[in-house]
Symmetry: C2
Subunit: 340 residues, 2 copies
């Protein structure tokens, strides 16, 4: 491996001078600069980032912990992260927490140990107290994505769940739907709570209220959407539209309806949330509320870079808007619907 010492010898200067040229700071004569640059090129010198990091206390690595990296949902977020991080010369180290508190703790600790300059987290569980304490002591800036700000985070990226849920409901209401079912994800998730408020807002705008909405709580999985829809149908419930807590649930709804021979959107309308990768591939293509994952990642990285550049800045926040994506799963309600 060719080191800075090799370069300095070749160019006939001290290591300090080489360092100045590489870092591009301090005074260096034109003659020496040329000589050093030539030596660097001839030897193919590349600075050892480990040594740099050790000495200067900046690793130029940012760490990220997500629920599950192996998921399309987060893949897109990583894309946004990279888009913002790379131009700033930061590499990315990613890890999954699998929605388990101890796994999430392990992942965060690993990133602390690796001397990341900053950490971005998207967690489903509150952070373990000892990890919070470690982060506080390490002084590493933390940006969290999602609903509840973690106690150590100095940056927060929030998705406008309120506005998204309101837009979805309004879309259904404007089409004339009045008997709507909402299949929500986990009731204790922050997202779910924020969305409820958005739905209420939309209902109010149409002179309705929460009582006019039938809510079934479950999980963010296709299976829930499927079985809940079947139950609804068996109860012979009277509804013309379903607002699914996410696109996975919506996929389950579509499946159940199709099995019962109920047409979408002619008989029943369905709207989802997320605009996940597969939303456009469903049949009919799913109308849904787009949650721009790449924008979330991008914003998180930007916030972190800002915190790195201005360590004394107060808590930062970014709010990301949702967007209604109209495809083909919503239409005006039919006057009458023949049940299965």
């Amino acid at each position: 491996m060719v080191t800075i010492t090799d370069v300095s010898r070749r160019a006939g200067v001290s290591r300090s001078t080489v360092s100045r040229v590489v870092a591009g700071n301090g005074y260096v004569s034109e003659a020496n600069r040329k000589a050093i640059e030539a030596a660097i090129a001839e030897l193919g010198y590349r600075p050892n980032t480990l040594a740099q990091a050790l000495r200067s206390n900046r690793s130029n690595v940012i760490g990220a912990v997500f629920v599950d990296v192996g998921t399309p949902y987060f893949a897109n977020m990583i894309y946004g992260l990279q888009r913002a991080a790379r131009p700033a010369g930061k590499a990315l180290m990613v890890s999954s927490g699998y929605a388990d508190q101890d796994e999430e703790a392990r992942a965060v600790i690993e990133l602390i140990d690796r001397s990341c300059d900053g950490i971005i987290v998207y967690l489903e569980r509150p952070m373990r107290a000892d990890v919070v304490e470690m982060l506080r002591r390490s002084q590493i800036p933390v940006v969290s994505i999602g609903h509840k700000p973690s106690p150590v985070s100095r940056g927060q990226v929030i998705l406008d769940n309120f506005g998204g849920a309101r837009a979805a409901m309004r879309h259904l209401l404007e089409q004339g739907h009045r008997r709507i079912v909402h299949l929500s994800g986990q009731a204790d998730f922050g997202d779910t709570i924020a969305r409820r408020d958005g739905m209420v807002a939309a209902l109010n705008e149409f002179g309705m209220n929460m009582d006019d909405l039938h809510i079934v709580g479950g999980e963010f999985h296709q299976e829930f959407g499927y079985s809940a829809t079947l139950d609804l149908l068996n109860e012979r419930r009277d509804f013309t539209a379903v607002f699914a807590g996410d696109d996975d649930i919506a996929a389950g709804v579509l499946l159940a309806l199709r099995q019962r021979g109920i047409r979408v959107p002619e008989d029943i309308s369905v709207i989802g949330f997320d605009d996940a990768f597969h939303a456009r591939h469903m049949w009919p293509p799913l109308t849904t509320v787009r949650q721009p994952m790449d924008a979330l990642g991008d914003a998180a990285a930007r916030l972190l870079l800002e915190l790195l550049a201005r360590p004394d800045s107060g808590p930062l926040e970014a709010r990301i808007d949702t967007e209604l994506v109209v495809r083909s799963s919503v239409a005006a309600p039919a006057m009458q619907r023949e049940d299965a």
Copy 2:
């Protein structure tokens, strides 16, 4: 930050002794071991991985370059990678090459600079010569996933494209299809070539040959599947089944057929390749050949760990099998088909 020196002082021993306890090698008296462990716990000492890496020349980081990290396809591969790497104490650093030679070069160079212990690559383009040279000089073991082994890789993970394509064709042939169209991806991709051989093998088994197959070359995109299918229909070509180069192409095929009012699988059967995330969400749910991305990532990491443990071992290879996933887009051909 609490360092090894702090611990040594607290325990009343030298740094060397602490290091031995932490590393778990060398001789240490029971009394000292206890004292040191106590000191570590009281101070909350965590070894500085940067310093360890610098001194011992092992960073315990594995680098990976994929075509595009922000894609569901690779998300799953990262999952497999992590599954194998974490238990070995290796962290992951990922980067995208965006199917561009210079971008891929940049990504690999970054990983070299970061002193990764090993690098895993999945590239679309041949590696730039200067990067090959850098890798060779750096002695960093490289494992490549995919068709063409890169000139520096000492490990190779190969997907059985041959067997997968043969299985897909056999499935169609067994159902009775004889007039089959293949919509292939980029003709110069290694995958595409290997699959062609698999298709020939299947045809031969049924007493047919390449002339009995109509091949249209294009790209691995939905748009190609869509437009190619429309063209085929406009030409009034006579076919009962389509074998799509991947599930994206298949999605385009389904879309075009649906628009023309052609039923799948009653009128025309469609089979894909990959078993991408959205394959099961299509309508009808797509029969396809599963390419186990997580297994590919897992195998790559294992190979790399093996190379790391046994630096003098010869070139390693792993072959990953595909699996036919039967859903609902293939059926026996109808006797007669009324064209649009």
